[in-house]
Amino acid sequence: MAPTVSTNPLRDPRDRRLPRLPDASALVVFGATGDLARKKLIPAVYDLANRGLLPPGFVLLGFARRDWSDDDFAQFARESAEKGARTPFREEVWDRLASSVRFVQGAFDDDAAFDRLVSTLEELESSHGIAGNAAFYLSVPPSAFPVVLKQMQRTNLAAKGASGWRRVVIEKPFGHDIASARELNALVDDVFTPSGVYRIDHYLGKETVQNLFALRFANTLFEPIWNSQFVDSVQITMAEDVGIGTRAGFYDETGAARDVLQNHLLQLLALTAMEEPVSFSAETIRTEKIKVLRAVSLPDDLDRYAVRGQYEQGWLAGERVAGYLDEKDIPADSHTETYAAVRFGIETRRWAGVPFYLRTGKRLPRRVTEIAIVFKKAPHLPFDQTDTAELGNNQLVIRVQPDEGVTLKFGSKVPGSAMEVRDVAMDFLFGEAFTEALPEAYERLILDVLLGDATLFPNNAEVEESWRIIDPLEEHWASTTPHRYRAGSWGPAAADDMLGADGRRWRRP
């Protein structure tokens, strides 16, 4: 929290009605005309304004090549907000925001453009009282990172020690292996102080993921059984029904493991498996996350326990869809995976011997992300075997999206005169207990950047540690061909065999 806030006599931690507002500041978006800005960033800014969470002196400053005036950009922003915002579009909210929208035109290698950006920020000091506070959002192709950062260094935009704070927000991918990640981190750290760098993993901005903290650490019910004594295995799934869309070039270089496994899935694993942090703060949570990531191990038999797949032509949701190799701009001999499933271990006392199965894929039957804790079977059942034939493992499932909530699966007696036990599911729908319009992940994360709260952002060490885990997989896969799976199925048969070999099977999410 900024020091000014704590000395404000009108602020009181007990006063929960007053939202924390960021300092007067500018959000500078590089690549403000791009896909991410239009679909996520600008709508999130509008939603924040609509909820009254932006400070009096807030400015949205866009930077891109096209020759636009402030008004052109404001019009673009308005259309993006109307289309993408979660909260209803209100003219008066927009009017206030529109008066604080600016645009600076230029290419990243254009020194003059950056000089204009600097002078625009200086003008805003007096016109909006932003007092030097600025967050720079790099919503640009990864290849443009170095040049943008160099420009910021040249123009002293990142000036550590200047009045006000300077922060930078970067999007995945954070490199493509440990070496490139280190290079990128060094580059960013060279320009900004590490505490001023915010890496977006939008999964951490989701309510359900934050609820994992509450579920685990605010209750007595779950933590005592959250270990290898009671847990049989953990399955973390992120399935997408879409294909690769228009990002063929990017995707074919990247693949599912680098695109999803390295960041989102390993972050979910870390939150599921970490020890209790000593307090709820960025520092302490990162300490526990990095500990558990360091303990993650790969299986010896990678052929069996690290399965890649690539979708073939098939039917999904009633429509015929093309196979990966037939997608536009994908080379016909591509070995890039669109599906990955891996068994990890965690070498700690809490988790020794408990497999963590992580999988992600495109063109799977439906879009769903969930964490399933599968418990061991009861050590003894005082029933006839036929009575419990339909009883499976107890499960606790955290549904990250959609239908955010928690499911508890347990055995229950089938009504009737015979003793017969069958699995039933008890559903808790997050949106039913609190439908208070759930904020979008980007909304929460942008607000946290402006407030300077780094709790929900992975740091350097976590990113590098995740590559330490993924790199050997990529090395192993480099010489292999992915298994085929039909679009619209739950992945290649080899992934089922992988669990079958352990006497388990995938949950159908």
């Binding site: 900024a2 000014t4 806030v5 404000n8 006599p9 009108l10 602020r11 009181d12 007990r14 006063d15 929960r16 009605r17 007053l18 939202p19 507002l21 300092d23 007067a24 304004a49 009254g52 400070p55 009096p56 002196g57 008066e92 909210v93 206030r96 008066s99 007096s126 016109s127 909006h128 009282g129 007092a131 909530g405 008890m426 559903d427 808790f428 729908l429 997050f430 039913e432 207990a433 609190f434 439908t435 208070e436 319009a437």
Partner: protein
């Protein structure tokens, strides 16, 4: 939806269970029960607000309409619905007449969601003492609205006198956007101000709470100036050395922040509807200490927040009203956690309310009965006289 005419409490419980089964054995993540107490003529307004609030914080919604207490026969009519006109959740509207209206809790208690917090909200004039209304006694959080009273400032003072932790008032809720803007403006201010002036229409309870809050937080003189034009708050001016910081409402939707040496800024400041206010109340259901301090500072009743949070029901029969009113203005019965009624103290002057000098609790008393007549008082001092109600 099930409609039950001339029914019983048990029938209502059964109808609710049946509706739940029909809705498909779903485990509602019920977080609380909202009991709304409303006068017949305001039912649709209260329903609208409660529906909006319930869609933000799913709850079991129990709307209680008490009417015709003097009807010869007690009677209960009820409407039970899930996912109907009253929002996505469970809702029961109950109309109670005759002596039953004085025992609404007998119908409501079995309908409360098990072990979930209860919020009781009086849409109309607040009860003189919450202990008179059993629907308030069992609630964890009690929400009144003094602006519905004939004399809002006297009613606000009465709320302070009767206060226990867990009480709040919508006059305070209405203030949140103003407090938010001012607190944000203070984030940039280095020093404590010298004085503050709140500008508002006459007898605006929110403005008084604003002053109470600022006095409590800042420890500087805060005055309320009548701005005359509108009943609501129109602005707040902070004097600091030679400087001035002012927030002024510009229209129904926005305000201007002006500060010496800085450009003016326009920010949204929407007037919120009743539903939004209620939703804010449901967002947190623990005690509001900051409200207790603001109310305590304004009313000069110290330590409101440390009063014991429990109330005991005080039996009180509005039908006997004539016998009491003859005795003089309503006073607070013995045993009330009150300082105002102490030993014939002179009427308390309302600090910061220049025109309210005569509006102590006694001066205001006739206006304090609730619209159903239930709120009028018969000081008895005894606490449990249920048996004596002559039913």
């Amino acid at each position: 939806m099930t409609t039950l005419w001339d029914t019983t409490g048990s029938e209502v419980v059964k109808a609710l269970a049946a509706e739940r089964r029909a809705a498909g054995a779903l485990a509602f993540g019920l977080a609380l029960t909202l009991v709304a107490v409303v006068d017949e003529k305001n039912v649709s307004e209260a329903e609208g607000a409660a529906t909006l609030a319930a869609s933000a914080h799913p709850c079991r919604l129990l709307i209680v309409v008490r009417r015709q207490i003097d009807a010869p026969h007690p009677r209960l009519d009820a409407e039970v619905s899930i996912g109907g006109r009253l929002g996505p959740g469970e809702a029961v509207v109950m109309r109670m007449s005759g002596r039953l209206a004085l025992h609404a809790e007998s119908v409501v208690l079995p309908l409360l969601a098990p072990d979930a917090p209860v919020v009781t909200w009086w849409h109309d004039e607040p009860p003189t003492r919450i202990a008179y209304d059993p629907l308030g006694v069992f609630a964890d959080r009690r929400v009144t609205d003094v602006t519905a009273a004939a004399d809002p400032l006297a009613a606000l003072h009465q709320r302070a006198t009767d206060f226990v932790p867990g009480d709040t008032d919508l006059a305070w809720t209405r203030l949140t956007p103003w407090r938010t803007l001012l607190a944000a403006a203070f984030d940039q201010l280095g020093d404590r101000p010298d004085t503050v002036v709140v500008q508002a229409g006459p007898a605006n309870p929110s403005a008084q709470l604003f002053a109470g809050w600022l006095r409590n937080r800042l420890g500087v003189p805060v005055t309320v100036e009548e701005s005359g034009r509108r009943p609501d708050i129109t602005g707040v001016v902070v004097h600091l050395g030679g400087e001035q910081l002012a927030i002024t409402r510009t229209d129904a939707r926005s305000a201007t922040i002006s500060r010496s040496g800085f450009p003016d800024r326009v920010l949204p400041l929407a007037a919120r509807g009743l539903g939004d206010l209620l939703a804010e109340e449901l967002r947190r259901i623990d005690d509001d200490d900051v409200f207790a301090e603001a109310l305590g500072t304004w009313s000069d009743l110290p330590d409101l927040g440390t009063r014991p949070p429990h109330r005991e029901h005080v039996w009180h029969d509005p039908m006997n009203i004539s016998t009491t009113v003859a005795g003089g203005p309503v006073s607070v019965p013995a045993g009330a956690p009150s300082a105002a009624a102490d030993s014939g103290a002179p009427p308390v002057t309302l600090p910061g309310a220049p025109d309210a000098g005569s509006a102590g609790p006694s001066g205001a008393a006739p206006g304090l009965g609730s619209a159903t007549g239930l709120g009028a008082t018969r000081p008895t001092g005894a606490t449990r006289e249920h048996e004596a109600d002559g039913r």
